[in-house]
């Protein structure tokens, strides 16, 4: 093993890239890994095999799910303390939001994703600001990419029209779920992302109920840092 290079001077303003000349640490670590594995250098055959393995996207054992995925999703979402409302049509969203917020006594002021701009919010008495939030809004309104029956989870993909803060910073998160997009398991969600988007967006946030903590005496408390409430509107 080569002698370790001298660490850069304390406080010296160096870019992280220059702080490790010629990737000494990388070479040493990979060298030691190869030595441990009894290899002498890069192994093109192993690389081919690894890439081939990745390309198969092998799926492990999964718990069997009933044919009625929606039912299972509803049960599991309830277990994780998400509340649920089922709507026939998208136009019903504003009224459903108003109803829900009145019920829990939260002011009807939300920040929402642009896709909801066209809905008749005024009629329902809900104020929806179509912009990202910094937490000043009591409610955040997002859609989801798909939902997972096995765990009662919703999968949210970040993007220019889908700022992540909306699902995190407000005390109440309302998520609109397309009823035809409830998949069985997480694996199916990944397959769907690959099929429809090609690659992963910057953030895939999977949300299963409100933020919680059990860090004090293992007692569960809701609303640790994120929302206290997650309300799902299943449309269709």
């Amino acid at each position: 093993m080569s002698a370790p290079a001298r660490p850069p001077e304390r406080g010296a303003k160096q870019s992280p890239e220059r702080a490790q000349p010629a990737n000494r640490a990388r070479d040493n670590i990979l060298g030691r890994v190869r030595q441990a594995l009894g290899k002498t250098g890069p192994d093109p055959t192993a690389r081919e095999a690894a890439l081939a393995h990745i390309a198969t996207h092998p799926i492990g054992p999964r718990p069997a799910l009933p044919a009625d995925l929606r039912q299972r999703f509803l049960e599991n979402a309830a277990k994780l303390e998400s509340s649920v409302d089922q709507l026939a049509r998208r136009e019903e969203i504003p009224r459903a939001v108003a109803r829900y917020l009145t019920g829990i006594g939260v002011p009807p002021r939300a920040s929402g994703w642009p896709e909801f701009a066209d809905l008749p919010w005024g009629e329902a008495g809900v104020e929806v600001a179509i912009r990202p939030t910094q937490g000043q809004d009591p409610v955040g309104l997002t859609s989801v990419f798909c939902a997972i029956a096995e765990t009662g989870t919703v999968v949210v993909l970040a993007g220019p029209e889908a700022p992540t803060g909306t699902l995190l910073l407000p005390d109440t998160h309302i998520a609109v779920v397309d009823g035809s997009r409830i998949v069985a398991s997480m694996e199916d969600a990944f397959v769907l992302i690959r099929k429809e988007r090609g690659s992963l967006p910057r953030a895939v946030n999977m949300v299963s109920g409100p933020s919680r903590t059990g860090d004090i005496e293992q007692t569960i408390v809701l609303g640790a840092h994120g929302p206290f409430r997650v309300h799902l509107l299943i449309v269709g």
């Binding site: 030595q35 441990a36 492990g60 967006p201 109920g209 059990g214 840092h225």
Partner: protein
């Protein structure tokens, strides 16, 4: 983290006599165990899933160089920078260089055990920057003058709500709260301010996904989500062994991780972060760095305990360990307590620094039975013990005793004579009660219990007599 592994016995003794700690430990005892037992029943094929998980992790270890390179390539392609650190110090230096380069002032951190290894928080503070732990348990420990964590997933498990209440009142200058809900509310308000003003988000990694160059993070609080959404720079600091080839395989591991850890079918948040924010995105990091840390991992890979690198840090082996349950995590004296800690700590900080750890086990086998990736923990502990004997690291009394026994065992005649004398002596020691109160050389053991005295004949004598009469 400061190493105190060499004081294991003394520390364990202190913890055993600590009434408050014992009370807190008893209160939490069995909670995780019970929930896990329930949660694994939801999987139709728990054992098959464990086998699959074992294979996923082992495949990566056996081709670690290859998967690391694939991960690096894919992460870089999405605009992240992959840095490597041979030592804990080098990992810290990377973080400070990044902070200097982007002129960052305040780090908000979601839980990372790897950063405990390198005492990253101290390094950040020494450089004059601010760092805030955002996992509630870690936050409690941080404001208590950086008390070390006692459990890998529930770091403040050893603290009662009364202790937390007193601590919050002191540090936040607020009236003491009595309810856990109110305590959490207070922490929420304090931390929210930090989330909104932090410019450097630091996280660990539950998994690194090779196919996409992503990090997968698992939390209930959502603190990792916040730390990776709001600040302009995100640094992931993690061990080189955390790689999983595909998202599908990560899903298999996740089924076991959350169930084995807290008995949940899933955590409230599972985040997969890939690269820097795209054009037009409002939230998300402009710069993303991965710091891949060795500090001892390649040593484990080259050793007889390689399988320990399959660990997904679920904590089940701690929760099921009778020794851990009675002494708590602090006695172990370094970052990783419990059975997995006793296996990897000697490799990370040196066998001679952690002589007691592999012996702090009854080898009851519970840890190996529950481990979701089938790490044969008892067997690995035994391998360490063998190594200690080979390297002359055991105390001289034990070595002499073993040598004496070996010599005797190789001389059956003398062995028979010695044991015949031995049992008769012990019978006399037992007196008419038939119980020995104090044994020489193993006083520690007989302090708390009596040894029933032998009735007067050795097994070989009885066996021979039986054969004669048959």
């Amino acid at each position: 983290m400061q190493i105190a592994t060499m004081y294991f016995k003394d520390r364990a003794q202190v913890k055993l006599n600590d009434e408050l700690l014992q009370y807190n430990l008893k209160k939490s005892k069995g909670k995780f165990v019970g929930k896990r037992a329930e949660a694994i029943r939801e999987l139709d094929d728990f054992e098959g899933t464990r086998t699959a998980a074992r294979e996923i992790r082992q495949r990566v270890l056996d081709n670690l160089d290859t998967y690391l390179e694939i991960f690096e390539q894919n992460a870089t392609a999405r605009g992240a920078t992959v840095l490597w650190a041979e030592t804990p110090e080098e990992a810290n230096r990377h973080v400070l260089d990044i902070a200097a380069k982007h002129q960052l002032k305040k780090a908000i951190k979601s839980k990372s055990m790897v950063s405990e290894e390198s005492a990253l928080d101290h390094a950040i503070e020494q450089a004059g920057l601010k760092v805030v732990e955002t996992d509630l348990g870690e936050y409690i420990l941080q404001i208590n003058d950086y008390e070390p964590p006692s459990h890998i997933i529930a770091p403040a498990l050893h603290k009662s709500k009364e202790e937390v209440s007193a601590l919050f009142a002191k540090v936040h200058g607020t009236p003491p709260k009595t309810g856990i809900q109110e305590l959490c509310g207070e922490a929420r308000a304090v931390l929210r301010e930090h989330y909104l003003t932090g410019d450097l988000g630091i996280s660990g990694a539950n998994f690194l996904i090779a196919e996409t160059g992503s990090v997968m993070l698992v939390t209930n609080e959502g603190n990792a989500t916040l730390c990776t959404t709001l600040p302009k720079v995100h640094v992931v600091i993690t061990g080189i062994e955390k790689i999983v080839p595909t998202l599908e395989e990560a899903s298999t591991l996740l089924r076991l991780l959350t169930r084995s850890a807290t008995g949940q079918s899933i955590t409230n948040y599972v985040d997969i972060l890939t690269g820097i924010k795209g054009a037009g995105e409002y939230h998300g990091a402009e710069h993303m760095y991965f710091i891949l840390v060795d500090s001892g991992r390649t040593r484990v890979l080259a050793s007889e305990v390689r399988e320990a690198l399959r660990c997904i840090r679920c904590g089940a082996c701690l929760n099921h360990c009778p020794v851990y349950q009675n002494i708590g995590g602090h006695s172990y004296g370094w970052v990783y307590p419990g059975p997995i800690g006793s296996v990897i700590t000697p490799m990370f900080i040196g066998q001679e620094m952690a002589v007691d750890l592999p012996n702090a086990s009854t080898l009851c086998g519970a840890c190996g039975v529950v481990c979701p990736v089938r790490i044969p923990l008892p067997e690995l502990l035994r391998k360490h013990r063998e190594a200690q004997v080979k390297e002359d690291l055991r105390p001289w009394v034990e070595r002499l005793g073993l040598k004496g026994w070996t010599w005797l065992a190789l001389h059956p005649g003398l062995y028979g004579l010695a044991t015949r004398i031995g049992v008769r002596l012990m019978k006399m020691m037992g007196g008419y009660e038939g119980r020995i109160h104090k044994l020489p050389l193993v006083g520690g053991w007989s302090d708390g219990r009596d040894l029933p005295a032998p009735t007067g004949k050795t097994f070989r004598e009885l066996y021979a007599a039986k054969r004669r009469s048959a």
